[in-house]
Symmetry: C2
Subunit: 420 residues, 2 copies
Amino acid sequence: MSDEQTAGSTVREQAERARAAALVLGRTTRAGKDAALYAMADALGKAEPAILEANERDVARAEAAGTTAALVDRLRLTPDRVEAMATGLRDLAGLPDPVGDVVRGWTNPNGVQVRQVRVPFGVVGIIYEARPNVTADAGGICLKSGNAAMLRGSSSAAESNAAVVAALRAGLAEAGLPADAVQLVPGPRSVTGELMAARGLVDVLIPRGGAGLIDTVVRNSQVPVIETGVGNCHLFVDASADAEMAIGIMLNAKTQRPSVCNAVETLLVHADLADTFLPRVLAVLASAGVTVHADERVAAYGEVVPLAPGDLEEEFLSLDLAVVVVDSLDAALTHVRTYSTGHSETIVTDSQTSAARWTAEVDAAAVLVNASSRFVDGGEFGFGAEIGISTQKLHARGPMGLPEMTSTKYVVTGTGQTRA
Amino acid sequence: MSDEQTAGSTVREQAERARAAALVLGRTTRAGKDAALYAMADALGKAEPAILEANERDVARAEAAGTTAALVDRLRLTPDRVEAMATGLRDLAGLPDPVGDVVRGWTNPNGVQVRQVRVPFGVVGIIYEARPNVTADAGGICLKSGNAAMLRGSSSAAESNAAVVAALRAGLAEAGLPADAVQLVPGPRSVTGELMAARGLVDVLIPRGGAGLIDTVVRNSQVPVIETGVGNCHLFVDASADAEMAIGIMLNAKTQRPSVCNAVETLLVHADLADTFLPRVLAVLASAGVTVHADERVAAYGEVVPLAPGDLEEEFLSLDLAVVVVDSLDAALTHVRTYSTGHSETIVTDSQTSAARWTAEVDAAAVLVNASSRFVDGGEFGFGAEIGISTQKLHARGPMGLPEMTSTKYVVTGTGQTRA
């Protein structure tokens, strides 16, 4: 079995090889998959020099093209980052295998037994942006959940991704599993379109990246999509909120890691609290380096830049925050209904009534009371692995761990029963 | 609150009214929804004369257009069928409410509590063909699961559907719920396209009908779709099968109700059994009025019509059956992999090994051992209500009851915790 991908294959040919590999994965025990994850981790270690060299070429190309320092940093691999990829694969081996779990089961009055059992999807396509570490993460999560992975990374990380995938495939082959269980999908932009058209060959597509990428996939794919991650998240400080608690949660939810989807982008403050709370929170935000975007109603209490059109829709993903005074819980709910992307929405309140209305009426993957939205995360939820955070309502909503990477089938067993 | 639909609204206007209604439904208790289901049932009873008159006009139009007797029969309503719709709504009131169910929950080490709770989708669009009874069923199932329903029926049943929906809306208004929780989506064919484009307003689309309808929706919808129902189902009689059992299951799975998606369309017979089993099964099928489509290998044992191109792909939905001799379990698995639509696939066998391979390797919503595929049905599974049988792998697979008509949200509650 070769660990080299066949050059010049079409997406459909790649998908057909992925289907054949998925058939084998579906029959592979947890022990077999865990052995492969260890072999893949070892292969990443062995390939570290080649991966770093390939990455240097990607980085040099990005720098020559004038890419921002932040993006270059996301693209850059180091020995530590390669080691972290390998550790991630070994950690996956330690997690329970969702495949074969009996979700529910019963016996019909006529003695027919019905069990609903977790099974892999089959072939999963992941379309993602710059970070090359996603290549190893996504490949590992797909493998552990019994799915063949078709990885469509960004062209800026093409050489890094190819080197990582070559190592993963070498590990698979060494463990006696088909190398085609993990494939990179190279080629020009049109290839993404072919992946989105591969209905019947690819079972699920998961876009991971910015709003533009996700929107393109959601609108154009004929393959079923799991939409991940765009988070225009709000924090509402209710009239009864404890000010200290609200400031602590606000600061954490904005500054602990501003670039992620569960960071708060807009602070809504109940008008009753404006006089006492706004001066304090604005001072704390300013000293944490946060730029507040707000109208005059807020500007009276501290330093702000004027609210620009679009600021309330925007996922800043930076140390920027919109602040809005609202006159009531209802006004806060209406604001969230208007601007939320349905990711993670927080209330800080001491009122049982306000908390109940917030959790019932806000339509989002996660609704939080008196806790930082940064907890909405597969790791924090104890899932051990996370392929992304779904913001759609079908199949999986919120952080997606290994069980969310599976489907189910009904196994129906009888002794000759027929329907009356 | 008017029980009359606003004439001439665009699909988007209708969807916006549905969203407003869904917001109310999401806050309505089970008691409130059940009271509405009873009121809707009573309203159907009161409207019976109007519904039957409207239906007569649809039937007359269909007959004048030369519609087949079978289709006219599906279109026709009788006092019994209207009463059955009302009974269906009252039965729904007796079922548990999935909304608010805690799917799982835990407490993080830092004391943050996480619960995954069932919530309605919001607005569900159902696109369906001739049967007007689907109008009441789908409206009732959506209501019970807390979803506003946008019902796009076929033009052939336009007047019947309008009369049924008017009654449902009158019942809703009487129970104090928004009539816009159930709306018919009238208008020309282009309206279906508008429904498929209403991403963000309509949460889920469920097409119910023939393969052509379902394929169109799946390929063109920007709204997430749950694919239902096309069943090219197989029954494989393994070498170790009990012949009596195999004949009983075969007959039941073909003739008990040939027009449905879980009826068997192709019989695969292990070559070892051909001499003994085929003459018997062909005789039994012939006396049950089944036309067998087969090649010479089968023709040697009984009366058949020659297998035409496409017969193996086709969902006959009639007393027609393809019969194929296969040389091994592997050949049967390959045949199923080639032709199955992933609905319900049956093996009759006494071999533990064959049964295990069949259930593991066949990729379908339901895999059956020694039982009729006619059991793959929400009613037979004890779900009490069924909106359809999903043949996709995302969200729901197999018969869909009330829980499958919901999403979930995570409710995260703390006492001021922040992420380290």
